[in-house]
């Protein structure tokens, strides 16, 4: 299982200390839990990070109120009523007690006035279909820079072609948030591999289980849940019984169930093992003491990772996603 994990991003991350758990599935979304060594001392994103102000369209300030350095989750955004929703194109370090103005944030709600304030904060992570483009646009100023991509995504979902991400995130919230119950965070889990329709969609790794628990909903419901909701398969008309000998009994039935599950697990592992093994480019973006934030770019995936140079470049945080879904 470790080899399988390592094969997802060769050269970008050393995941040899991490393990894949038993997959869970809900509709088109499969989640394979990751466990492994924790990196304590990183401020968790919901309790540690606060959006303090939007200084103008495309300018978002976050403050780290935690005790440790914050790693801003890649592509988080904030939604509030009567204020223009914004998302960030990149991750970043924020020292304890410090604030950071993101000058390259993007507005994700084309025709809504008003600025986000500190009240009623809940954050999402951009749907995976938008993430490669958002990552490309990091560093570029222009609050409207993602509107065309959002409009295209809406159209592909059968929604009005508008630069309004809340058409998916807010109006479909009841369906999307069900993924938080349909898939279940496991004790000790600090990461996950997500597959949509059986194809690799993303790998998420957090410094520790507490951090991952705080970003879990944003990932499972919005980053990957939206694509899975769009691909939700119809419920089968009638279940197909296992191929059993007549009167096979409980033991026969259990064997059939376990055989079927082994086949499903193998299908997941085969998909991950078959990911393109092409080279990825790793470019360092930021430093905080011994931590390094880098952007990873490959043919099949992209994202950002944080490694610890004081501990053999051990991975601390990763958000890597497939460039194409489906």
């Amino acid at each position: 299982m470790t080899d399988t994990l390592q094969a997802i991003a060769p050269g970008a991350l050393d995941l040899s200390g991490h393990r894949l758990g038993t997959p869970q599935q809900a509709g088109a979304l499969t989640m394979v839990p990751i466990t492994g060594p924790a990196h304590p001392g990183i401020a968790p994103p919901r309790t540690g990070l606060k959006l303090t102000r939007v200084a103008g369209y495309g300018r978002v300030e976050l403050r780290n109120g935690g005790d440790g350095v914050a790693i801003v989750p890649l592509h988080i955004g904030y939604i509030q009523d009567a204020a223009q929703n914004h998302a960030l194109c990149r991750s970043a370090f924020i020292a304890p007690g410090a604030a950071l103005m993101f000058e390259d944030a993007c507005c994700v709600q084309e025709s809504q006035g008003g600025y986000l304030t500190e009240r009623d904060q809940w954050f999402f992570v951009l749907p995976v279909e938008l993430r490669a483009r958002a990552l490309e646009l990091r560093g570029a100023q222009g609050y409207a820079k993602l509107w065309d991509d959002i409009a295209d995504l809406n159209r592909s979902y059968g929604l009005a072609r508008r630069g309004h991400l809340e058409q998916i995130l807010s109006r479909k919230r009841a369906q999307l948030t069900q993924f938080q119950s349909r898939l279940e965070l496991q004790p000790g889990q600090l990461g996950a591999v997500f597959l949509v329709n059986g194809r690799f969609a993303g790998l998420e790794l957090a410094p520790d289980p507490a951090y991952f628990a705080e970003v879990w909903m944003a990932l499972v419901c919005f980053a990957y849940g939206a694509a899975a909701w769009h691909a939700e398969p119809a419920a089968p008309d009638r279940p197909v019984p296992y191929e059993l000998a007549e009167g096979a009994g409980l033991a026969g039935l259990r064997a059939a169930l376990e055989h079927d599950r082994a086949q499903r697990l193998n299908a997941v592992l085969r998909e991950l093992a078959a990911l393109p093994a092409g080279p990825v480019a790793v470019r360092e973006e930021e430093r905080y003491l011994g931590l390094r934030l880098s952007t990873v770019t490959g043919d099949h995936l992209a994202g950002q990772v944080v490694t610890d140079t004081t501990d053999h470049d051990r991975p601390v945080y990763a958000s890597l996603f497939a460039r194409t879904i489906g």
């Binding site: 038993t22 279940e184 007549e246 169930l257």
Partner: protein, 448 residues
Amino acid sequence: MDTPHIPDTPTLLAHLETHTGALTLPRGGTLCWDDADIHRAAYTADPEGYALLGLAPGVLPWQRARVLLQILAASQAGLDEAARTTLARVSHVLTLALPPAAVITVLLGLRRLRANHKHTTRAVLRFVLEHPEADALIAARRPALADCFEHALGKATARGCARRIQAGDTGSEYLRRRLLRFLADPAPAPARVRALYEAGEQPALLPYEPVLPLDHQREREPIVTTTNRGDIAATLVHLYRGGPAPDLHAALDRYVAAAAAAYPRFTGSVALVLDVSASMRGYGDREWALLSQAAALRMVLASVCDRLDVVEVGGTDQHGTHQPGTDLAGGVLDALAAGPDLVAVVSDGYENRYPGDLARVAASLPRAGIATPLVLCTALFTGADDLSLRRPAPALPQRGFWHQDDFAELLPWMFGHCAAGATWLRAALRARLDELDLEAARIGGIAA
């Protein structure tokens, strides 16, 4: 002629709880009774059990009207005295527990069916002349009730009785033999018979509500929270949150004992597959809501059942290892290993290891040679929950519950699915009939 298919208990109960539509009597036409075959077959197979099932919590009013119609239309030839007594008590309770308009439709339906047995006569006369609101009913529906009265006694006898009463007779041998002997309380009868044959001064409104409510309207808080869903679950929520354990545990024991006392003992064995996964715990304002009610059900069942085996899924096993995901199918196989009379899966319905496994296991049971009935009890936050993604095995019998009061319908439904539940169900419904008889006497009706 085809032999009518006899529905088993779960099928009949599901029919009584879901098959909507009124009995109707088109003017000059025949009685419209769309599911008469099912009622007739069920009555023929087990008259007493069929009648009692009509009292089960959750049965639709128009289905109860059909039960009343079936009981009163059918001959009781060959039934023993105990069965006849039960049928008489059930029919009396139903005449008080149904909206009066529905009872009048049933009685007029009996006339169209030309059903006139002694027990029919007794039930009709008791409704027309002894109902606690008989005066108001006669004022509102005098011609219809006069028709019922004449059908019950025969037109000549009915009018003969009426003439004597109008002439001042209140207790002659003629009246006693032909009319009063059918009544439990003959005193008010003469005045009401006079009213049946005298045009009223003003048209009156027919009382709509039954005088004996069978399914009590539950008082609900306008906003459902984790702690207004019954005493057991509320106490568990406070325990889960870390409340003072000794006080809460003592109260919990009292609440469970009180809830369990409402049910007879189940002498069979039940295996409960209990989902204790993260989604059952929930989060935010709803944290603990589902898990606490599922645990409440477990505690009540543990008090009611001679044997209850619980297989937890999605939690930590006996070795301290966390089980991955919600494995309902694996839990069912573990539960079947104990050889129970019934397997009940209690879950929010989110199956993620893997979705579809429970349905496939259930579909494979017959071929595997396993006949143990399997039911799915879905833990809900409220009755309005969206279940579209929470039916892990649509072919399985599934019933939701969210409040402790729901156990009154859930337990008969669960136990009704297994052979060992037949005795329990009959005992539970007999106890309910006893309570309803007492209530009928209290409100002014007269016990059968």
